[in-house]
């Protein structure tokens, strides 16, 4: 694959991810409605919500600093960048060497710090509360995520996500017990980082329980739209990272254009399954008390560490 093609593919993938991300959210919502015996909204509802929000006039609190207005764009930019690193359809992304898995975790941390800062900007008690809870979840989720990724990095001897996928997906099938631990840890982190049950409830506005909604309480119209869209991209990125690490089969090798249609089909099937699984988890579990969240996440962290140690033990 020559450079121009590679860059074209890179841009195409990033744009596709950004455009397709709300679809996954719509699918999860639809599945959850079915599981809960409600009549499901259209799978396209997130798009309509975004369009509606973009048309509205934003209301900004008096005393907001420039940071408050810049944050939605920064969040969106961070998630867009993350979408460019993860090999969703094919490896061999020319941008991928610029940021490995540690930098990927760094991007998510950057977004988290900015959203927490923006929440504290107006000076309402809710903003501070949300920021504090978000950072509480983040400080455990981030190392747990790193441990999961390190397990994969130890197996493949590389911290490049594309190399990891090449190693894990394009070799003969092998069972890695360490990856089993890592997968459980990753799932827990995914739930926490994306404000899902049992850590947070994306549909609630109850002040005692909310985390993510408290952070963005002051945002409206296009700013809110950008944040919601960024959240959708984040979920998409996390799910595709999970796919890349634990079920990478079907991701096309760099430059293999003929494998792409198959890769698209496989990806859609995996995403549909993952979305349905997410809806199932959210239906079956109840939300944890806030102070059980650290326990939940330290379990994830320890599982991640355990996975890493298992790798060394099994290897001898």
């Amino acid at each position: 694959m020559n450079t121009a093609q590679a860059i074209a593919f890179q841009i195409l993938q990033s744009v596709l991810v950004v455009l397709a991300a709300p679809l996954l959210v719509g699918w999860v919502n639809q599945c959850r409605a079915w599981l809960q015996n409600r009549s499901a909204p259209s799978i396209l509802l997130p798009y309509w919500t975004l369009a509606k929000l973009f048309h509205k006039e934003p209301v900004i609190a008096h005393g907001a600093s420039p940071l408050f207005r810049a944050t939605p764009y920064i969040l969106f930019g961070c998630m867009w960048l993350a979408a460019g690193i993860v090999p969703v359809l094919a490896t061999g992304l020319p941008f991928a060497p610029a940021a490995d898995i540690i930098a990927l975790v760094g991007v998510f941390a950057l977004a988290r710090v900015f959203s927490a800062l923006a929440a504290m900007d107006i000076g309402t008690s809710f903003g501070g509360l949300g920021a504090r809870r978000e950072m509480l979840i983040g400080f455990l989720a981030e190392p747990a995520m790193l441990m999961t990724l390190f397990t994969a990095a130890f197996i493949s001897g590389s911290t490049q996500l594309t190399t990891i996928v090449d190693t894990l997906g394009h070799r003969e099938f092998a069972l890695y017990p360490s990856l089993a631990f890592a997968a459980v840890a990753f799932l827990m982190v995914l739930l926490a980082e994306n404000a899902r049950i049992p850590i947070d409830n994306p549909t609630t506005h109850l002040e005692l329980t909310m985390v993510h909604e408290a952070l963005i309480l002051e945002y409206s119209a296009r700013h809110l739209a950008l944040i919601e869209w960024a959240v959708a991209i984040k979920l998409f990125a996390y799910v595709t990272i999970g796919i890349a690490l634990f079920v990478p089969w079907g991701i096309a090798e760099g430059g293999d254009w003929h494998a792409l249609p198959l890769a698209v089909g496989v990806l859609v099937a995996k995403l549909a399954l993952a979305g349905a699984g997410l809806a199932l988890i959210e239906t079956l579990l109840a939300k944890l008390r806030l102070f059980l969240a650290p326990e939940f996440l330290s379990t994830a962290f320890l599982l991640g560490v355990l996975g890493m140690l298992t790798h060394f033990l099994v290897r001898g």
Binding site: H62, F76, A116, G123, F126, E218
Partner: protein, 677 residues
């Protein structure tokens, strides 16, 4: 010709600049009581000398080692001076960071009474010069003289406000622990020199120690220098003394002085002793991990901004030690390439921490100058009154939180990459322990981000909390021009170090080669362009902060432009949403203590907490919280009590009668005669 050549050599140049600092210090005294001289002349000239020193240091990294003997000092004990890549790197750190701090100091001290300012300028420049001599020294004698001068000049700077008892006792604690450390270092040199009477570093290098003695020397060096660096459990002075000093001095101490201890460790362990053992590395790793977690967890509980920053210095020393320890483990097991990578990560973090911690202390100084506040719980909304300080502080906060693409991320990334080399180790236990230290680092990094969200969100964002200071909070406006120049310089350093890591990787590789004889692998050097940072090989790991920054700025701007193009740019301003409860006051915002509450909940047993929480039906509700360091209770106070007990017993000797004292002399004489014979 040779004279010109000598004058251009980095060693002579650095010596001249160090002497220039001494001259500035002396000159501060001459126009007695002339504060304008110190402000307009002494500090800016000191800053210029710093820039020149940084350039010379960088030059020294690329040149072979140079030595010089000065016929000063005691008879038969001349001063030996030397520059090599390691000293050059630290001279660069000293020069570049002190330049920013000196420029800032020129503005910061503008309201200082002239008598005090003259003294500060004297001590400040002696302090700078003594640090330069510590780095230049090539014998134990000059090293110890400069080391002690550094400790004393910084002690006097710490007690600038000596009329407050708290500051006097902080200064005393600092002096005490500094001297404990100095004794250990002195003993270490004693062990190293092996009874040959020659204390030049060349002679110390030549001595071959037995393994047991080598371990003793290592422990003495590690804890001796560690006392200055603030490792656990010798950290207690750091959160007391650093905040007590005037802010530019805090920046110098946290930014540069504790780094001379890292220099000392590397110099003694890697250079003078050589033959690094992996067990030593494990000691460094365990202490480093404990220091890291301790520092950040206590930082999260502080509401005094400068104290909080001091605790973060403890944490960052721990991070540096993690890199250093991994390096020692790899070198001990015979993997010099990975060892050099760890050393590079540690030294890179040393430089990074100097830059961003300097910047943060300067920002805290500007807040203090402008508002008179150090307590976070009283601040709020400073971004409106001090937008420029807020901007620089944000850069520092993002850098210390190890967020890409700034500099803190690069060195933590390199440390992670070192830990991921663990697979090449033979020893199974050590191999599986190294990733645990990486996990510690990951946890500490995330906690640091939390802490700086707290600092920035509470100090700069939101609304003023203090009822006594109705808005606008900053009485004296934003930071002055010189203060801003100083902060801008350090903020720019954060970006340069973050965006062009490969240039510094090559500089540090020189240091690694000069210390261990080996450098990074061929693939690493081949893969590293100015754009790509490749620590081992391009397949294993690479990072390009510049591409990262360009992409993130580009997509953010693109999002902005698309939204503007397809929608509209209108906004409406209104009061914040009050959730149906209109009687909200700024005091209902989160405070620094509230922000730490969740951490107290999770890590409760680690703190010694004394608190009183109001109940639901208290008539006079009162909230009280005091967090103390457990080390005081199990280490410092018992030692202090033991010292008091022993001195009380020794005091029994004091009888106040001359005949008794004559008897003591007689007994001493007899005893000496017995020994001498």
């Amino acid at each position: 010709m040779s004279l010109v050549h000598a004058a251009l050599s980095p060693l002579v140049g650095a010596l001249v600049l160090a002497v220039l600092w001494l001259a500035i210090a002396a000159a501060s005294l001459v126009p007695a009581g002339n504060a304008a001289f110190a402000r307009r002349f002494a500090f800016p000239l000191g800053a210029l000398a710093g820039v020149a020193l940084a350039v010379l240091g960088l030059q020294a990294v690329w040149l072979p080692a140079q030595t010089l003997t000065l016929p000063l000092g005691l008879p038969d004990l001349p001063f030996h001076l030397r520059t090599d890549p390691l000293a050059g790197f630290f001279l660069m750190l000293l020069g570049s960071v002190s330049a920013g701090i000196s420029v800032y100091a020129a503005g910061y001290f503008r309201a200082e009474p002239s008598g005090r300012l003259v003294l500060i300028s004297l001590q400040y420049h002696v302090f700078l010069a003594s640090m330069a001599f510590v780095l230049l020294a090539d014998d134990a004698y000059l090293f110890m003289v400069s080391w002690e001068t550094m400790a004393l000049s910084s002690y006097f700077l710490v007690i600038t406000d000596h009329k407050q008892p708290a500051i006097r006792s902080a200064g005393f604690l600092y002096l005490l622990i500094a001297h404990l450390g100095a004794i250990a270092i002195l003993l270490c040199f004693g062990v190293l020199h092996g009874g040959r009477g020659d204390y030049s570093f060349d002679a110390l290098r030549a001595v071959q120690l037995q393994p047991a003695w080598a371990t003793v020397a290592f422990l003495l060096a590690f804890f001796g220098f560690g006392a200055k660096a603030g490792i656990l459990p010798l950290h207690a002075w750091l959160p007391e003394a650093h905040p007590a000093a005037p802010s530019p001095v805090s920046a110098l101490m946290s930014g540069i002085m504790i780094k001379t201890a890292i220099y000392g460790m590397v110099r003694v362990i890697f250079d003078l002793m050589g033959n690094v053992r992996w067990e030593w590395g494990m000691v460094v790793l365990v202490i480093g991990a404990a220091t890291t977690l301790f520092g950040v967890l206590y930082a999260l509980q502080q509401h005094d901004l400068k104290r909080l920053l001091a605790y973060h210095s403890v944490e960052n020393i721990g991070i540096i030690l993690l890199g250093l320890g991994m390096s020692m483990v790899f070198i001990g097991f015979g993997h010099p390439a990975a060892g050099v990578l760890g050393l590079i990560a540690a030294l890179y973090h040393t430089l990074n921490h100097a830059v961003f911690k300097g910047l943060l202390f300067l920002g805290a100084g500007s807040i203090l100058r402008s508002t008179g506040l150090r307590n976070l719980n009283d601040m709020g909304g400073l971004i409106h009154g001090m937008p420029k300080t807020a901007f620089y502080f944000l850069i520092g906060a993002l850098a210390i939180s190890a967020l890409p693409p700034l500099n803190g991320f690069v060195s933590e990334w390199l440390t992670f990459q070192t830990a991921l080399q663990a697979t090449i180790l033979q020893n199974g236990i050590v191999r599986s322990l190294l990733p645990l230290f990486a996990a510690t680092l990951a946890l500490a990094g995330a906690l640091t981000a939390m802490c700086f969200v707290k600092v920035y969100g509470i100090a700069f964002l939101g609304k003023p909390r203090e009822p006594a200071h109705p808005s606008p909070l900053p009485h004296a406006g934003d930071a002055g021009q010189m203060e801003r120049y100083g902060m801008a310089w350090l903020a720019a350093c954060c970006f340069v170090l973050g965006l062009f890591p490969t240039s510094f990787l090559l500089v540090l590789n020189r240091v690694g080669v000069s210390l261990t004889g080996r450098g990074l692998s061929e693939q690493a050097l081949a893969g590293s362009g100015w754009l790509w940072l490749v620590p081992t090989s391009a397949e294993q790991a690479s990072y390009s902060p510049l591409v990262f920054l360009v992409v993130i700025v580009a997509v953010t701007l693109l999002a902005f432009l698309l939204v503007r193009r397809f929608y509209h740019g209108r906004v409406r301003f209104a009061d914040p949403w009050d959730c149906g409860y209109p009687e909200q006051t700024p005091r209902m915002q989160d405070t620094a203590d509230a922000f730490g509450q969740s951490i107290r909940h999770v890590f409760g047993p680690l703190y010694k907490m004394d608190r009183a929480l109001p109940g639901p039906d208290d008539k006079a509700p009162r909230y009280f919280l005091k967090i103390e360091d457990r080390h005081w209770y199990w280490l410092y106070l018992p030692v202090a009590r033991a010292a008091e007990f022993i001195s009380a017993k020794v005091a029994l000797l004091q009888q106040g009668r001359i005949s008794i004292y004559l008897l003591y002399s007689f007994i001493t004489l007899i005893a000496l005669l017995v020994f001498v014979r």
